[in-house]
């Protein structure tokens, strides 16, 4: 049984958990993209999803905030339990889910607005009008994203005047301004140079106190460098999930070992 194999490879002692994935299956039309995924997301930790291209790691990530609902023909089965509620149930409004679980994308995608308005966006769509509250939240988020000192004098300039790394930190500020429970990162540094990458990684570590982070990365060094837990996926299946040290030094599945040592992928 696949499930038994998976449970054997999991950590014995469970940390506090923010989300639990139970028998998750996902279909793009007829294509069975995720197969019986079972694992959990430890609270206030960085969980990395790794695996070769096409293994389903981004598909899995996008289940957490129901991004697949934006396109027709997609179907979920099973559950992702957050506070005991199944957030992929058709009864749950995807917009409510996205209000609690925000996302940072592969390429920086600031809106064609000012720096300030980019960060304030999440508050404005929630109907918040109180200017002093928005001012305060924007400053907090920009400080949290380690961007405040660089932009405090030009908050009302276009976000496109920023460098790529700054734009990505702006997108992180935008994602944390509403105090979400989980922030999803979809290969957030793949479009950035090494120095900007390092600053984003440091930022993610510092964000752990506030939020739980799930990150998709194709860089194993990145996963090893700063994630706490790692899930290795292959061909739509979750092969191994454990704390990052164990996955990288003492993987129990041969496929994981092969991927980490560079033989597949």
């Amino acid at each position: 049984m696949v499930e038994q194999e998976q449970s054997q490879s999991m950590v014995s002692e469970r940390p506090p958990v923010v989300a639990e994935v139970v028998d998750l299956n996902f279909f793009y039309g007829d294509f069975h993209a995720l197969k019986n995924i079972n694992f959990y997301i430890p609270a206030n930790k960085v969980t990395a999803l790794i695996g070769p291209s096409g293994c389903g790691k981004t598909t899995l990530l996008r289940c957490f905030n129901r991004m697949h609902d934006l396109y027709p023909g997609n179907r979920y089965e099973g559950g992702i339990l957050v506070n005991g509620e199944n957030i992929i149930s058709p009864k749950v409004d995807p917009i409510e889910v996205r209000m609690r679980i925000s996302m940072v994308f592969q390429k920086p995608n600031p809106f064609p607005k000012s720096i300030y308005e980019n960060v304030a966006y999440g508050l404005r769509v929630r109907g918040i009008r109180d200017k002093s509250l928005i001012d305060q939240k924007v400053e907090e988020a920009l400080r949290g994203a380690a961007l405040w000192d660089e932009v405090k004098d030009r908050l009302h300039e276009s976000a496109y005047a920023l460098s790529g790394g700054q734009q990505q930190r702006l997108c992180i500020a935008r994602a944390i301004v509403t105090d979400p429970d989980i922030v999803l990162f979809d290969e957030p540094t793949s479009a950035l140079d090494p120095i900007a990458t390092r600053s984003i990684e440091e930022l993610m570590v510092s964000l752990k106190e506030r939020v739980t982070i799930i990150i998709v990365t194709h860089s194993m060094q990145q996963a090893a460098r700063f994630s706490d837990y790692t899930a290795f996926m292959y061909m739509g299946e979750l092969i191994e999930f454990n704390d990052t040290k164990t996955v990288f030094n003492n993987a129990s599945h041969p496929q994981t070992q092969e991927y980490i040592s560079g033989k597949i992928g």
Binding site: N65, M67, I95, F105, N109, F111, V125
Partner: protein, 309 residues
């Protein structure tokens, strides 16, 4: 070439290379000529307009032309105040824009952000078919259908009136606005929509707060094109708004537009070189200046609000 014959050389020009160069040059010339035709046409029209207008302004004071509000060039005691015609053009165009801009924009937002791809594929061609109806048909539609309808609301409304012509002109322009605005909105990258939805925004919030502002320069361009189209429209106003020059901005009145005057006078048999004949060109020049100003405003607005994504 035999291998033994020569060492390869970059500087030596082979026969095939010469043929390639000639072909390239020939194609370039053909393309240049094609591009020149449109430029030359524009230059020719402007030249003609200005040449005849200069003759006109030798006999009529320029000041009277741009400040006067009486346009009676065919009377025994003629006046040449272009405002009597411009007021008609401005009023009908304004009504047309009041109809077409909100309607066209709403349709564009719906088609680009809400309609399923299948519905969009069906709706867009049907909508664009509206633009294929001859304008003279629209003119009679305004005169024989819309005006009687409006007369039920405004019993005093004359048979020829600017309101009816303006409304129908607006309907005619709707597809222009909706089609171009939709193209502009669909060109906004998916990543911006996803970014907005991922923040918990609804589809409507995403459309209004992110997609619309991101596409604003293309949308403004469509509005300006709509305005130019309204200003230049001839048949609808000639048929439905009346041919009597009348300095008024009241849509419930009958008035001639610049274009209606031009078509009316040029259909008569005016001898070449007479002052009456030259009024056509002066009025045409006024119209040209008006659309030019609109285009410049549009260009500046689009530049001002351009959002790079």
């Amino acid at each position: 070439m035999a291998k033994s014959e020569a060492v390869f050389s970059f500087t030596k020009v082979s026969a095939s290379r010469r043929i390639r160069d000639i072909k390239e040059k020939a194609i370039e010339v053909v393309l240049f000529l094609a591009a020149s035709v449109s430029v030359l046409t524009t230059v020719g029209i402007i030249f003609l307009l200005i040449e005849e207008s200069v003759l006109f302004f030798q006999k009529v004071s320029f000041w009277e032309f741009i400040t006067g509000t009486e346009w009676t060039p065919l009377f025994a005691e003629p006046s040449y105040g272009i405002w009597a015609l411009l007021s008609g053009t401005i009023t009908t165009s304004a009504i047309a824009l009041v109809v077409s801009i909100p309607m066209g924009t709403i349709i564009a937002i719906y088609l680009s952000e809400f309609a399923s791809p299948k519905l969009r594929e069906i709706c867009k061609p049907i909508l664009e078919l509206l633009a294929a109806i001859p304008t003279v048909v629209y003119g009679y539609f305004a005169l024989l259908f819309v005006t009687p309808l409006l007369q039920k609301i405004f019993p005093e409304l004359p048979g020829f009136n600017m309101l009816s012509a303006g409304i129908v002109m607006g309907l005619m322009i709707v597809p222009l606005v909706s089609s171009l605005s939709e193209d502009a909105m669909r060109a906004v990258p998916v990543s911006l929509r996803e970014g907005s939805m991922a923040m918990g925004a609804t589809k409507l919030q995403t459309a209004i707060r992110v997609v619309f502002p991101a596409a604003i320069s293309g949308i403004i361009a469509s509005y300006i094109l709509a305005a130019s189209r309204a200003v230049g429209e001839t048949m609808i106003v000639a048929v439905a708004a009346g041919l009597q020059p009348n300095f008024t901005f009241n849509p419930l009145k009958s008035a001639a537009t610049v274009t209606a005057y031009i078509v009316q006078v040029s259909l008569g048999d005016l001898p070449r070189g007479t002052l009456e004949y030259q009024t056509i060109f002066a009025a045409g020049l006024a119209l040209f200046v008006m659309t030019l100003i609109l285009n410049i405003i549009g260009y500046l607005l689009a530049k001002r609000y351009r959002e790079i994504y």
